[in-house]
């Protein structure tokens, strides 16, 4: 596969060698010097239970956890669930103060909800105690912010996700196009590949248009890249993104995002309005799409010839934007400790061992999503997964609050998803749909106690 940055104009050979050297030194200086046998307490006969998302990399835990068992004597049980099921089970577990799991794996938008609910331990004291082992600064800076809620460290990052722009290198070469950097480039490329006799059976792009979380999250992925903001204080560089939660869903940029989604439907395959994450990735992997913006967790599947028809025929680049300032969507998973767990020390031992540079590299080589800068620049990792170079380029431009991290997050995204879906169907105008979303979300946030100014 091709990674746009390795092409001419990307990083130089010298810079590349520097990072390789840096990574090698970092690993030898910190990762390999840890004597885990003395660092981890023995826990023979104990069982550590983890509740987790059912994502493709979960299988890697089976391999890695055997090392933890050898070191501590504790066995590790990982139970994984689909996205909605996981959220539901974890909230109900926290609400009923259940200790059935010691480690809770959380998605970034849930961080505020779990901290405010008191469901997870504040890991700041643990982190300060083991700062040398964890090398906190080595984690992606915005992902560190994601894990931090009002001064509490809710979880330790281990699975950062970024939305990467994926394109078919063979088709782009044939059409004489470069990978899009702007939204207009993207629209033009989509138009080029759709209903074109030179590219039979190919559609321009696949988007997340399905009602609910799918299109709701897509809105938040694009709004910052159109130079807009969903709430008055929520924008990259904001000192407090939650200071003023007045919704700005009727702004010209917001309307432009939905108009963009609607304009693209003509370049999408049949059934586009019910398309969500899986269908979009499957359509790209099986060949009919020339482009798709996908969460980086899908990349190993695209590179697997047993599951993909585009292995060796696709490239990745940074998420396109309208104003030259790309804000690649950021998400992913952190490991928190259940506040009522009876094995908090064992849980912390596991977390610090699992997220250490040494184990994290093993995890990434087994298909896990990279979350550390050193891992993203590791030559072994880059050799196996060249797309991680795009992840590295994306990470410095991300915004920790690209999706709200408050307890109302799920409801906000779902409401946006409902009204955008209605606008895409043509059931209501874009302006009316976004006005209704704006009013409903404003009322919701006001009731929840956030600062919301009355809109004129």
């Amino acid at each position: 596969m091709k990674v746009s940055s390795i092409s001419p104009g990307g990083i130089s050979l010298v810079k590349h060698l520097f990072w390789m050297l840096f990574a090698a030194i970092t690993v030898s200086a910190s990762g390999q010097s840890i004597d885990w046998k003395t660092e981890l307490k023995k826990a023979d006969g104990k069982t550590l239970r983890i509740i987790m998302i059912q994502d493709p990399w979960v299988k890697a835990f089976d391999t890695i956890d055997q090392d933890f068992q050898k070191l501590t004597g504790a066995s590790v049980v990982v139970d994984s669930y689909s996205y909605d099921d996981l959220h539901e089970k974890e909230v109900l577990m926290g609400n009923s103060k259940s200790d059935s799991y010691d480690i809770i794996v959380l998605d970034s938008p849930w961080v505020g909800e779990f901290q405010q609910g008191g469901y997870v331990e504040n890991l700041k004291p643990y982190l300060e105690k083991d700062s040398k082992i964890l090398q906190w600064d080595d984690f992606v800076a915005t992902f560190r912010q994601v894990a931090d809620w009002k001064g509490s460290i809710v979880g330790i990052p281990f699975g950062a996700y970024f939305v990467l722009f994926n394109y078919r290198t063979d088709l782009f070469k044939e059409a004489g196009l470069n990978p899009p950097k702007t939204i207009d480039d993207l629209k033009n490329a989509a138009k080029t590949f759709t209903k074109n006799s030179k590219f039979p059976g190919v559609f321009g792009i696949g988007m997340n248009n399905q009602r609910g979380s799918a299109v709701g999250q897509a809105y938040f992925e694009y709004i910052f890249n159109f130079g807009g903001k969903p709430f008055a204080s929520m924008y990259p560089g904001s000192s407090d993104p939650y200071a003023d939660m007045t919704p700005e869903l009727t702004s010209p940029e917001s309307i432009a995002v939905v108009q963009f989604f609607k304009d693209l439907i003509q370049y999408e395959p049949p059934g586009a309005l019910n398309m969500a994450w899986d269908q979009r990735a499957n359509a790209f992997a099986t060949g009919p799409l020339s482009m798709a913006c996908l969460w980086s967790v899908r990349e190993p599947i695209l590179s697997d010839p047993t599951r993909s028809k585009v292995d060796g025929k696709f490239g990745t680049s940074v998420f396109p934007s309208n104003n030259g300032k790309s804000v690649p969507p950021l998400g992913g998973w952190v490991m928190g400790i259940n506040n009522v767990s009876k094995q908090k020390d064992l849980a912390w031992d596991y977390i610090k061992w699992f997220t250490s540079q040494e184990t994290h590299k093993k995890f990434v080589l087994l298909g896990g999503p990279p979350s550390r800068i050193s891992t993203m620049q590791d030559p072994d990792v880059l050799k196996k997964s060249p797309w991680i170079q795009t992840v590295y380029e994306s990470q410095s431009q991300t915004f920790a609050d690209c999706r709200p991290r408050i307890p109302e997050s799920f409801q906000i995204i779902d409401k946006v998803g409902l009204h955008v879906s209605e606008a895409l169907q043509g059931q209501v105008s874009i302006q009316d749909a976004m006005k209704q979303a704006n009013d409903e979300i404003g009322a919701l946030l006001k009731k929840a106690g956030y600062k919301v100014s009355d809109t004129p």
């Binding site: 909605d84 405010q116 399905q210 009602r211 609910g212 059934g271 019910n274 359509a283 409801q411 779902d414």
Partner: protein, 318 residues
């Protein structure tokens, strides 16, 4: 025949263990020899039915969020006011009604016709196998049925559009268009559940005395006159029970829609069960969700009561 209705006094327990009309005191109830045998059933009923229901009724009057560590506060009728002013809930009620009426009517027509077919071919070899195959969809979990049809009706990769393409029909959007999504859901629902009404109709039809058909034939009745004047009146009571089951089932329909459209596109396939699920298990608005559940329960109870009265009337006048 009219069955006379008599007023009966409910039986009560006395201290001797026999059912008489005597008044029972609470103390004697606990000493009654039947109490230990009845207690598990009473505890079960209270723990799993009465208590959760009463809890839902109380929660419906509270500001109660599962993700909010603050204790719930009294909200009065605010949850109910919000519910009936929410366009989405009203759309969900309308969609639920549409799906229920359309599904039950089509299921009955298909079920009745298939029952006739299977009775007509019952002497042929292999007819029982055909009937078994026909009722197979009923045995599959609805969520699996939803997933199966979401693949079959996938506009890009699905086999249905491929087959339609072979006979020159343009690809259909099925679940992905607001105009076709609801009818696609009805189609899948009918596919799964018309065998149920076929079984009910078969059982009712075979119980009709043969001499009535012969008399009709001698009188020169046409097939539709036989259906309208003999079959439908005589199978009505049996079929009504099946229809009540299906109405209640449709009213709480969730799995097929969750697996295929999630209520979309827009609000085209939003139904009350999905709405309540979203409020309680995705937004964790336990108070608002409980109010929704209470309203759904009341509507289901009203439908059930009307149907039961109807059935009772038919039985007495049969």
């Amino acid at each position: 025949m009219v069955i006379p209705r008599t007023k009966r006094r409910p039986a009560k327990l006395d201290g001797t263990g026999s059912f008489t009309g005597a008044t029972v005191r609470l103390g004697s109830l606990f000493r009654h020899p039947a109490t230990p045998f009845l207690l598990p059933a009473v505890v079960y009923l209270f723990a799993l039915t009465i208590y959760p229901f009463l809890y839902s009724v109380v929660a419906g009057f509270l500001n109660f969020s599962l993700t909010n560590p603050r204790p719930p506060t009294f909200a009065g009728l605010a949850n109910y006011r919000s519910l009936f002013s929410d366009d989405l809930f009203l759309a969900a009620m309308l969609n639920t009604g549409l799906i229920t009426v359309a599904s039950v009517v089509i299921e009955f027509v298909i079920g009745f016709s298939m029952a006739h077919l299977f009775i007509a071919i019952s002497d042929l070899r292999g007819s029982q196998l055909l009937r078994t195959i026909y009722i197979l969809p009923m045995m599959v979990t609805p969520v699996v049925v939803g997933l199966l049809w979401s693949y079959i009706l996938d506009p890009l990769f699905g086999i249905m559009n491929y087959l339609l393409g072979l006979v020159g029909v343009a690809p259909q959007p099925w679940f992905s268009d607001a105009n076709t999504a609801l009818w696609s859901v009805v189609f899948v629902n009918v596919w799964q559940w018309s065998p149920f009404l076929m079984l009910i109709c078969t059982a009712a039809l075979v119980s009709i005395p043969r001499d009535l058909y012969e008399a009709a034939r001698i009188d020169g009745a046409r097939w539709f006159q036989t259906v309208i004047r003999i079959e439908l009146p005589l199978i009505r009571n049996t079929v009504l029970i099946g229809i009540i089951f299906r109405v209640i089932d449709n009213f709480r329909m969730f799995d097929i829609i969750f697996a295929t459209t999630r209520g979309g596109p827009g609000r085209a396939t939003e139904v009350v069960s999905l709405y309540a699920y979203r409020q309680i298990f995705q937004y964790f608005n336990a108070g608002y969700g409980a109010a929704t559940a209470v309203v759904v329960f009341l509507i289901a109870m009203i439908i059930g009561t009307i149907a039961a009265k109807l059935l009772q009337r038919e039985v007495y006048h049969a």
